[in-house]
């Protein structure tokens, strides 16, 4: 079990001391976090890390789940896609299912916290139980272009919260409540991000028959159209005309996601064009993902839409030069030409990859800057600090707060 003091070697004692100072200011408050699942997905992943560390710091944090059947989660999946701006076939029946399950949760979930921290749309209706306590709605979704029908439906709930939290400035909406910007984070001590011995990296490359003799371009993402794996192959093929290199596309695909399986099949088909393209299905193998990132010459994240894009932070943390689309939370992580290269098209991605492969010193500098940027802004310790500041902000309305 990772302890808060384990992070001292990465972020310095003084940063941890600040966390302890903040935690003291929250003594006596109970923070109740609520979401819909304890495993799988980014929200559960971050809560699994944040909750024990907040507890260790002395902030009384507890975590509860709502319940829902298959139909409910089908509806919330549609909500999720609609909020991402993808058209969905939503009927009144869908909204009725959502409200019905929500009502059961309102009746069954025990609300005891001084501060209720509600994650994403699934438990949003619990706000109906609001009394003297403070309520925060934490949105982990890219809301830059939400489907109005779903957004307006959810907005009626959100307006009753004390504050809302978004991951990127472009996700904020016109709301009568305070809205905060808190980016997600990566855990530098997790299997996905910790330092690895060279032998581990070598053995993973060997396992997948990846040569160390030519540059490696990698995109780590699930096989989803929004991650544009076919576009990455196109970009790679354009680079390959000039530079002998290889491509790794690695990630998982949910077996219950027919669209994902279709994309995977298309990617496999297209990969036949070039024997240096490695398509790897690697769901839940964090050490291998870590090793592949560390072995890469350039890392790509050519998403069409992105909630935040933590794979970019993971790559930058490993001081890798990154080429990524200018979408979602990616521009928060990459300042173009300072800490990576942003692109808007397949051609742009190909050009940027070529630039980095041909200018290793420049690529190295971008990677180093990127690592420093992630260290200062996107590690779990910053996330803990922001959450504690957020809790404190509920009791202070002024712009400068003296604690």
């Amino acid at each position: 079990m990772v302890k808060i003091d384990n992070y001292i070697s990465i972020v310095d004692q003084s940063v941890i001391d600040d966390l302890k100072l903040l935690a003291e200011k929250l003594k006596g408050k109970v923070i109740q976090q609520i979401n819909s699942t304890s495993v799988g997905g980014g929200v559960a992943e971050i809560l699994n890390r944040v909750v024990p560390l907040l507890k260790e710091l002395g902030v009384d944090t507890r975590w509860d789940l709502i319940k829902g059947g298959e139909q409910f989660f089908e509806v919330t999946k549609k909500f999720h896609n609609a909020l991402h701006g993808r058209p969905q076939d939503l009927t009144q029946h869908d909204f009725d299912i959502f409200l019905e399950t929500s009502q059961k949760n309102i009746e069954e979930v025990n609300i005891y916290g001084d501060i209720l921290f509600i994650h994403d749309p699934q438990p949003i209706a619990l706000i109906k139980k609001k009394s003297e306590n403070k309520w925060i709605w934490r949105c982990h979704i890219d809301l830059s272009n939400p489907h109005p029908k779903v957004w307006n439906f959810l907005k009626d709930f959100i307006m009753n919260y004390d504050s809302a939290v978004f991951s990127a400035p472009g996700f904020s909406q016109k709301l009568p409540i305070r809205q905060f910007l808190i980016s997600p984070s990566i855990d530098p001590l997790s299997e996905k991000n910790k330092e690895l011995p060279q032998e581990t990296i070598d053995s993973v490359l060997k396992k997948y028959n990846i040569s160390q003799d030519k540059p490696i371009i990698t995109q780590i993402s699930r096989f989803d159209r929004l991650k544009d794996p076919l576009g990455v192959i196109e970009a790679y093929l354009q680079v390959k005309k000039y530079i002998n290199c290889q491509l790794i596309l690695a990630g998982g695909t949910a077996t219950d996601d027919p669209e994902g399986l279709k994309v995977f099949a298309e990617v496999k088909e297209k990969a036949k064009l070039d024997q240096d393209i490695h398509i790897l299905l690697l769901a839940h193998n964090d050490i291998e993902i870590n090793a592949l990132q560390r072995a890469s010459t350039v890392i790509v994240q050519k998403s069409i839409k992105e909630g935040f894009g933590l794979t970019v932070a993971e790559a930058l943390w490993k001081a890798k030069p990154v080429v990524a689309s200018n979408v979602g939370g990616i521009p928060l992580q990459i300042k173009h030409k300072y800490s990576g290269l942003l692109c808007h098209s397949i051609e742009g991605a190909a050009f940027a990859i070529k630039q980095l492969l041909n200018s290793p010193e420049y690529a190295k500098k971008l990677g180093e800057n990127g690592k420093e940027h992630i260290k200062n802004n996107f590690l779990l310790t910053r996330h803990l600090r922001d959450y504690m500041l957020l809790f404190l902000s509920l009791y202070h309305k002024e712009d400068i707060v003296y604690l």
């Binding site: 310095d12 003084s14 940063v15 001391d17 100072l21 903040l22 400035p169 802004n377």
Partner: protein, 226 residues
């Protein structure tokens, strides 16, 4: 080594942590940016002219404010970007005065370059006004003399250095920084206080600033060769 005098008053180190509040205000054109610049809160001007230093402290002295970066990067107005980046922030001891200068710079530019009004940022690249909510917290570190002061300075966070140099100076409308103020009034060394106060903090990274201040003090304590 010079004799170390105990300070008349101890120096208590504070830290300043901030939370970013989204205002929901966004600009796609220079005219929109200009109008919003006139009406947003001081905390928002502060955020966009100072947070950059903290977030990208390793990049300094790169564009020192978000406005400069955005007009160059999203609108392609490199000349205006340069003018905004080169505003001598250290000259302005209030956010009000700094805001006026930024507004005037954009206003002048638009008068001379009316076509710039026609440029707009692509969807997703708009300028989003954010404001900083600052939390000022006393740390457990207190210095009673210069030696203790430098020892603490070596280990406190950059947020603490930031608070005592920038926050004290600009946002709280004080003419000097907390370190110089203490060294002058409590330690009684005006020359050293002036040396620190003369630094332009906007053109150093925060880590560099830490090193330079430590060097100034240690030279004083231990002699020139240190």
């Amino acid at each position: 080594m010079a004799e170390l005098r105990k300070a008349k008053e101890p120096f208590r180190f504070y830290t300043r942590l901030h939370l970013s509040e989204l205002t929901g205000l966004r600009a796609s054109t220079l005219s929109q940016l200009l109008n919003l610049l006139k009406e947003v809160s001081g905390s928002s001007i502060y955020h966009h002219t100072h947070r950059f230093l903290q977030q990208h402290q390793y990049l300094s002295p790169e564009p020192p404010n978000d406005f400069a970066y955005w007009v160059a990067d999203a609108l392609g107005e490199d000349e205006l970007g340069e003018r905004l980046a080169s505003i001598d922030t250290v000259q302005y001891s209030t956010i009000r005065a700094l805001r006026d200068k930024i507004v005037l710079t954009i206003d002048d530019y638009l008068k001379n370059n009316p076509l710039a009004k026609l440029k707009f940022a692509h969807q997703g690249e708009e300028f989003h006004f954010i404001k900083s909510i600052s939390f000022v917290i006393p740390t457990s570190h207190t210095a009673y003399d210069l030696e203790g002061f430098t020892e603490i300075l070596k280990k406190i966070t950059i947020d603490s250095i930031y608070f005592h140099i920038f926050e004290a100076r600009l946002r709280l409308e004080r003419q000097t920084n907390d370190f110089s103020n203490w060294i002058e009034t409590s330690v009684g060394d005006k020359e050293m206080a002036d040396d620190i106060s003369k630094l332009d903090p906007y053109t150093h990274t925060l880590e560099d600033l830490r090193k330079i201040i430590i060097r100034i003090i240690e030279r004083r304590i231990y002699g020139k060769n240190r």
